[in-house]
Amino acid sequence: MIRLVLTRVLSAIPVMGVVALIVFFMLRLSGDPAAILAGDTASSEQVERIRVSLGLTKPLYEQFFGWIMQLLRFDLGTSLFTGLPVTSLIAQRIEPTAMLALSTIVFSVLVAVPMGVLAAWKANSWIDRLVMVICVLGFSVPVFVMGYFLIFNFAITLRWFPVQGYTSPFVDFGRFVSQITLPTLTLSFIYVALIARITRASVIEVLGEDYIRTARAKGQVEIKVLFRHALKNAAVPIVTVIGLGVALLIGGVVVTESVYNIPGLGRLVVDAITRRDYPIIQGLILFFALIYIVLNLIIDIIYTIVDPRIRY
């Protein structure tokens, strides 16, 4: 068991290395990074200053290993605009994003899994069709379109929720809930579609198995058949998709935070784009990739422990 876990952990390291390599060379491939970062109106002294501050005057391999050593000390460099370390900027902004992501994952799983099970149970009925329509819509309606649709109807017309903003749950929980509701619904739409579709597909597959017939034959209540016997055995692909979907979620977070004016990591990215603050973009890519890899690693390890059928 320990060896299995260790192998999984070790196999994640080269992936992270490749991410670092990609991020490092992306800036260099585009020609003179200092000139790009400085913008079109910069003087040659400004360009030179950026070049020195980024260490671009040293040979490439030295730059790369210096940068990797920096990363290993959890140093993501400093923002070109504010001069603050990128790690402390991330730390300042992480709470709203974490809250939004968490509420979205919880809400989506609570809605999508029963939805998928229901669709699978009533496969080819109107309920199933409805669920599938919701799924296709979820994949097709852009996040911001959904966001403004909800704002227009529930915040401006009906005045049920505030239009935008964020309050920490540790400061005022009621306000937090009212402000996080619409962003959560917005971001959940695509995630619900993703999870419901895979739940439906894997439950349909499991429902054809012999043990389901046995459970029904011995008179097990249908709801227990569905949730205890079927869902449990269909869980692996569902949990996998929840993990893989985090990549989708991160993209959505950037847009949702921008629509609802939430001061999280997504806004940090958008502000960095307008200011051409590349160290922030670079740092956030590494940060999000790390979260994605670690999360999927944890899911992988849980499988090996929970599901005796999986052995690598």
């Binding site: 992936v15 296709v136 097709s140 990549a247 989708l248 991160i250 590349y278």
Partner: protein, 289 residues
């Protein structure tokens, strides 16, 4: 093994009418897409005016006979911008789908067949897939400057690993087939094996994948433009229209509504078309979805 014949679509549906009856949504989606592409190609003849010409006196006008869908904050005609904006979405969708499928196919074929390359290529693909696509695209655009070409490349790069994985999985199953072994044993050269025996197996799932890539590319272009890291603001695109319309959307909601609806309908149509193709071309995948 006998599969229940009723669960599979008939091999051939002759004529448009039976097809329409069996897949009404797919036909409607195809028609909508056809219209959108036509409108994009013949944009100047679609009762449009110059989508970039500003008339400050006509700012934020609601829909009227002169301006079918109203005007934006610079007095530009929303209908004209919408029609010309379709060009960006169509170009980006088709270009990204085409390019990422071709590049992914080549990489996937070679990686699936040449064992020693496989490990290296797949690690690179794993790394690319670990970076959220939109962030990768944002970074690529922000280092190379905004232009339509950059946007296409930036959206394409995160899509390639998905294609590579798909092709590779097909190659790995097909390479063990007896006819491939036979071809190897009579000394067929590698390029011929790949193109003659393995490639044809990849085409049906790739066509399906291409439609999904196309939908996701249109979505990503809109998101990039919305965030200010996409198509330059001088070019009318649906994402740019939403980005500009959001500022005054309480006063002039149509500036946001129409490009939003256009995006949703177009992407929805591409997805429905993709699902239809999947059911016809790739029944194995269709069963799993």
């Amino acid at each position: 093994m006998s599969a229940p014949a009723t669960s599979l679509p008939p091999a051939r549906l002759s004529g448009l009418f039976p097809f329409l009856k069996r897949y009404p949504l797919v036909v409607i989606a195809g028609l909508i897409l056809g219209l959108i592409v036509l409108a994009a190609v013949f944009a100047p003849f679609m009762f449009t005016r110059d989508p970039t010409s500003m008339s400050p006196l006509q700012r934020l006008r609601p829909a009227s006979e002169a301006y079918w869908l109203g005007t934006d904050h610079l007095g530009r005609d929303v209908w004209s911008r919408l029609v010309y904006g379709a060009r960006v979405s169509v170009i980006v969708g088709l270009a990204v789908a085409g390019l990422s499928v071709i590049i992914g196919l080549v990489i996937g074929l070679i990686s699936g067949y040449v064992r020693w390359l496989d490990a290296v290529v797949m690690r690179i693909m794993d790394g690319l897939m670990a970076i959220p696509g939109i962030l990768l695209a944002i970074a690529l655009v922000s280092v190379s400057g905004a232009s339509l070409t950059t946007v296409i490349i930036a959206i394409m790069v995160p899509e390639i690993p998905r294609v590579v994985r798909l092709v590779r999985s097909v190659v790995l199953t097909v390479r063990e087939e007896p006819y491939v072994e036979a071809a190897v044993s009579i000394g067929t050269r590698l390029p011929l094996i790949l193109t003659r025996h393995i490639l044809p197996n990849c085409i049906p799932p790739l066509i399906v994948q291409a439609t999904y890539v196309c939908a996701s590319a249109m979505l990503t272009e809109a998101i990039l433009s919305f965030l200010g890291a996409g198509t330059p603001p001088t070019i009318p695109s649906w994402g740019n229209m939403v980005a500009e319309g959001r500022l005054l959307f309480q006063i002039a909601p149509w500036n946001l509504l129409w490009p939003g609806v256009a995006l949703a309908v177009t992407i929805l149509s591409v997805n429905i078309l993709g699902d239809g193709l999947r059911d016809r071309l790739d029944p194995k995948l269709a069963k799993r979805m």
